[in-house]
Symmetry: D2
Subunit: 336 residues, 4 copies
Amino acid sequence: MIRVGVIGYGYWGPNLVRNFVECPDSDVVVVCDSNPARLALLQRRYPQVEVVQEVEALLQRADLDAVVIATPASTHFELAMRALKAGKHVLVEKPLTETSEQAQQLVAMARQQQRLLMVDHTFIFTPAVQRIKQLMDAGELGDAYYYDSVRVNLGLFQQDVNVIHDLAVHDFAILNYLFDAEFHTVSASGVSHVPGRAENMAFVTLYGKDRFIAHINVNWMAPVKVRRVMIGASRRMVVYDDIEATEKIRLYDAGVDLADEDPKQQAKLLYRMGDVLIPNLPAVEALAQMVSHFCRCIQDGQTPVTDGVFGQRVVTLLEGATQSMAAHGQPVTLRT
Amino acid sequence: MIRVGVIGYGYWGPNLVRNFVECPDSDVVVVCDSNPARLALLQRRYPQVEVVQEVEALLQRADLDAVVIATPASTHFELAMRALKAGKHVLVEKPLTETSEQAQQLVAMARQQQRLLMVDHTFIFTPAVQRIKQLMDAGELGDAYYYDSVRVNLGLFQQDVNVIHDLAVHDFAILNYLFDAEFHTVSASGVSHVPGRAENMAFVTLYGKDRFIAHINVNWMAPVKVRRVMIGASRRMVVYDDIEATEKIRLYDAGVDLADEDPKQQAKLLYRMGDVLIPNLPAVEALAQMVSHFCRCIQDGQTPVTDGVFGQRVVTLLEGATQSMAAHGQPVTLRT
Amino acid sequence: MIRVGVIGYGYWGPNLVRNFVECPDSDVVVVCDSNPARLALLQRRYPQVEVVQEVEALLQRADLDAVVIATPASTHFELAMRALKAGKHVLVEKPLTETSEQAQQLVAMARQQQRLLMVDHTFIFTPAVQRIKQLMDAGELGDAYYYDSVRVNLGLFQQDVNVIHDLAVHDFAILNYLFDAEFHTVSASGVSHVPGRAENMAFVTLYGKDRFIAHINVNWMAPVKVRRVMIGASRRMVVYDDIEATEKIRLYDAGVDLADEDPKQQAKLLYRMGDVLIPNLPAVEALAQMVSHFCRCIQDGQTPVTDGVFGQRVVTLLEGATQSMAAHGQPVTLRT
Amino acid sequence: MIRVGVIGYGYWGPNLVRNFVECPDSDVVVVCDSNPARLALLQRRYPQVEVVQEVEALLQRADLDAVVIATPASTHFELAMRALKAGKHVLVEKPLTETSEQAQQLVAMARQQQRLLMVDHTFIFTPAVQRIKQLMDAGELGDAYYYDSVRVNLGLFQQDVNVIHDLAVHDFAILNYLFDAEFHTVSASGVSHVPGRAENMAFVTLYGKDRFIAHINVNWMAPVKVRRVMIGASRRMVVYDDIEATEKIRLYDAGVDLADEDPKQQAKLLYRMGDVLIPNLPAVEALAQMVSHFCRCIQDGQTPVTDGVFGQRVVTLLEGATQSMAAHGQPVTLRT
């Protein structure tokens, strides 16, 4: 049984606590929040869980195996570092840190302490993304050509981070997971329509190996909600629409093939458009899968899918995209 | 009655001939094409129209008021220049020319010859774009914030031009028309997935005045056909979906407002989501409207909506976007 | 403060208890269920509520103003009758009773006891139905021509009642509410595909005054879930799609008009197709509205919208439709 | 080469002429229409085709193999009878005749004359219906449970026939083709909203063998156009949406299965919801397939799919449904 302490019971913390409580492999022992009203709410729901207001009171407990950090991104680095130094396994809300430099330090400390460091990139554990991954691994899609995502809606403008950190972060994680993508260059553009605020619209292009390209369109000021990803590949193409209640993935037997090349002239292209398949997906909660994965990795000594190195890559992309956006699309070289 | 000669009876020429034949203000006198098979096809359809194989034979005729050029883009400059010098009014297929320098020379020659120079940007004459223009002019949308277009499908890969020239050209024209847009910078990215071919996917960002931004996503290798534009503005927002048979425009009473500002803290945002209106659009053919507009402008001595200067601006954007795309998004300053 | 006792804590009872607990005008004093496990669940959630296993123990309490009955339909008549005789106001789950004869007796008893009798036809209190009612009352739709409903999905087959009782009952209530419909005849057809079970597919036609007609298609064995009602009328028509998350109502400025009549020949028809309006609907829970309405009617001595007479009409339609269905569509005259 | 004479060049005749002209197995020799303006139009299009105003002038020609009848339904019987007696093969627009008695006489005459009698039920030759037929014949759907069709739109009200003759006729033909349906009873309801006109809304239920049921909802006064058929079956279910441009058929791996029966209690039901498949359909014109089938059947001496007996069955259903509708759903026994 993994004994867990949770720091932060604000927006996302309650979801994490609920899932760790319901997970048969874990116990929530103590929750820390500086706001007494939040702790009172927690205690009405879970009278068995202890509460503390000071992080130190949580970290120094010897009876905890793991610490879960669900606080604002600006505090992740310090809290995760202290938890690792205290010898705890650590799960951090996304993004792992504010800078890739900080992420690297956490990865190094986790290695040194021989503790597990994992980031809560929940999307990776959705049935839709899992199914696409299976299709790719089985060769059903062939060679990947591109990833093209639109993730827009009306509100909520974040206070301190731009829309890339809020929405494109999901695509960066999915890209890492699906394509093991080694992007060498990023170009991003965007704008803020509210004086004094960070960018509320942004467009990011990532250049990968072998002509692979990814593009992400994120927007807090769209009249409709769209969550749609197209994946282009040589054998089959995918449209993944996360707004759909049940038909989230459509698999197209479509593509462009090169006809037998005539050396004297340009290759002729053949367009192929066949059946569409909508696979049935299991109805499971992604967050429960994530929590379960964290516990099993601790128990079995395995490396989590979204480990510190994974989280560091995402932070590197956030950093590069934000830097390019500030320079009107100026390409930025990524060191990954 | 405007007496018209048409150069080129390939892909688009037949549509132009049909509309000039049916327009009550014009007569098609002669058609030129180097391919006898095309001319034979024309004569079966319109026995009354003369045919010639040599451009010169058409241009030297004294009985023509106007010349319509529907040949590959690489020939536009030379043919339009000769027609203007011969004293004809000229209608050119989009894009006007290959370079903005050439476009400028045509504009100057048209002024000197006091002849009309117009570009066939058909989209401008669709009921949908016309309605959006009316809504903007009437102040129904308020201040424009952004234009975000997705224009993707499977095939047809063009032989000589990239996907920006084929598809984004429509958005460049619509942007010119709707927003009188003075864009100062462009950043574009893209890739070719077929060796030896031009880019088949591209993403273009245009930076305008007062935080206005435009983004265009074009792709010849998408599994589904999408033609969708979102227009963000302060009062109402628009979704324009050209795939829809009748419900092409949706008008959203939605937006983000700033609450009364408290000098001590950040402005608070209010999200507004109201009714949606789908206006009924007239069922008219855009190309017939374009042809009729060309004839009326000649008759009344008026400047066409899509005149040479308009066409030159579009060419400038094509040029800048292609240049930026070759440099991985490197921003390019536009001189418009 | 209305003091409430609830009989039945099975499928729907928990929703009623939750809403009566949250309603500022009511207190849930006691809940009765024959199953101790259900009562234990209730007590974990609401330690302040008393529990009893025998109905009599609830009905004889002098401190209750109202009794809410959420038990199987076959028990409604007896329980409601006892509660009314005990001098309580009564809210009954739909349908009110198994036979219209029983419904009539309850209505009479409620009058005699001067107590309120209301049926929980929740759909009447949805924002969508409320908005359609407002549009009709304001004359926005003109004269009503028809109501055409499709309400189909896969499962759940009910054990004891046919699909009309499960699904068409909602349409019967909506028809009563929107059109104050006095139907004179019903014809219904249907079939059971599972041996020994009641009909799982049914089609009901109701004939009203002045050529008004209603049709209802219900099915437990459809591959997709559909909840779609079309309302035809002289000025505007409505499509009400309850599956849509936010755009539940579409208002069409469409119809058929008679041109000026020429006495010598048949009237000419003019088809009108104009704008479509999608009104924004408030996000309120229908059941909370229903509970609040029940409490206010008791406090103010008003007649509820879905009173006993309303419930009786619905039962009359269920009875007639089931009778016609057993005779392959044989029309049945309705005495309402 | 089949030499064809066509009677009637009004609404549908031009489509038939065009397809017989383009069919490599047939020649259109002569066309008959009482209206000279229609004949003039034909001659501009097809100068090689002869024209006559009198039917007799066409029927007495010895150089015709087949006669195609595209006139109002009230004239079908007499014209087809004369053509058969003149020894011609005959293709008649749907419906074959006004009464099943007439249809029977035509079938008998065709047998006597050893000539082919076929009805133009075009829908049978669409790629969508063909594909569904293949799926059924291959056992992919299992046992058929029901056919449920909605076929509604705004206009055009027919002058002389009710909406069943205009729209449900397509479903009657499809039912005949797909299920070889032997329906024993029909119940129909409907109404006319325009004084002096036939019914513009109708609902038809057909009862078949083994619990198979069909339902058809047709309407000339709907605010939206719907053409949607659901087919319920034991293995897979189909949704056939004819409005969709390319994705007309969706194949659902969904259904209801009976669990192992426990003799002591009611059978338990298992709900199954799996993948959805959207087959790619060839882009062929149904009418061209129909014309080609007619010619091949003449050449090879085969019986057409939509022969006289087929057409007679459709007329029997039209007759029965109209009779039941006049009696408010009173069931009518079908003698087929």
